[in-house]
Symmetry: C2
DNA sequence: GTTATTTTTGAATCATTATTCATTTATATT
DNA sequence: AATATAAATGAATAATGATTCAAAAATAAC
């Protein structure tokens, strides 16, 4: 007999994140992922049925790791809605602080999966966005948020803005430090731009 | 002799927008673009040297059409900064109102070109974003905008938010009517979410 | 209506890579 | 240390689709 040594499934994911981030999913080569993972090209297929499933796996991890924390946050009684929204933003950013490459892959390649694939992560992804929406609804009900705002539009606007900044940070940490980004996003969230 | 009939270069662009929007640049087939354009596959290459140059051309048109209007807007003396920002938002949305497919291509595929290609549109694109930044700066100087906001972050946050909403509108006009989106974006811009 | 020139065609070429699989290597068990 | 079994290899396969190009079609000029 022979046993598998190390956690190759994980090693492959890490290598894939690196290569997807650098080249984008479509231009990424399986052979390069294998090289970085330190295994043979064909060995990839012992762990994943195809290239797309590797990408899928990445997003499954991202969004499943946010599911519980987001649900818990929503349920808390000791925070007001604005605090909850701030925490939700932090949850999201925290996923990526340790891994700019993961942020690049998220921004550039998740959309591809949402078209073709009916992958397992989509449920968790939408649940995360819904949580933001629910918190806003809560804020409007408790009369601390402006009721003239369309909740769906608001949540998506914010998500889009944050997503774009995450992307810029991933490309250039110095120009867009994540703590400054967080702070500004929270500020705009609350106050808009007017003096 | 023989003369070219019709504006095939344009017909190809229109067909390409349709196909890129449906399949994404990487999965789009030149043969399908040709079919929709009503010409032979090989004829594409009489007008464009390769697939990527078609995509490039699309963005050249988009961003060059915004260059002058944006500059003019910036220079106007009869508007305050907030009015200028609102107009800038309108300029941007107006490009896409007639063509949801163009919006899809913008959101999904421009990034690809910004990586590989040093295409002609990039200058105009950045100029457009810079215009937004300049208006905000003007607003801060004239003390009508909050000076605590980081201008670069602000402009990118807004651009990202708008971009994401444009994408949602392109996928589902009914759920995200562009006029409602405009209105909400302008509202958030000014007031933030707090009551 | 013939010729010269340009446009158009679309099947053949060519390059690229994801995926497969016959073979080799490693190690758990005896 | 021999055997059995699973893991790993990487060269060969196979599919795809962008691009080319020799041939055909169209029309302007005469």
């Amino acid at each position: 007999m022979r046993t598998k040594e190390g956690n190759k499934a994980k090693t492959i994911i890490d290598a894939a994140i690196e290569v997807f981030a650098a080249d984008g999913f479509h231009n990424a080569k399986i052979s390069q992922i294998a090289q970085i993972a330190g295994i043979a090209t064909g060995s990839i297929y012992l762990y994943y049925p195809n290239k797309e499933s590797i990408l899928s796996k990445i997003f499954e991890q991202v969004w499943s790791s946010l599911a519980l924390p987001a649900d818990d946050l929503l349920a808390r009684k000791d925070m007001n809605p604005i605090e909850k929204l701030e925490n939700l933003i932090d949850l999201f950013f925290d996923i990526f602080t340790e891994d700019p490459n993961l942020a690049k892959v998220f921004v550039n390649d998740q959309e591809h999966l949402m078209k073709t694939n009916s992958s397992a992560f989509i449920h968790n992804y939408e649940n995360f966005l819904d949580t933001g929406e629910k918190i806003v609804l809560e804020g409007i009900k408790s009369q601390c948020f402006n009721p003239n705002i369309d909740i769906k539009i608001f949540r998506n606007f914010f998500f889009g803005g944050i997503r774009h900044l995450l992307h810029l940070w991933a490309r250039d940490h110095k120009a867009f430090p994540l703590n400054v980004v967080r702070q500004n996003v929270k500020f705009i969230l609350k106050k808009g731009i007017l003096e």
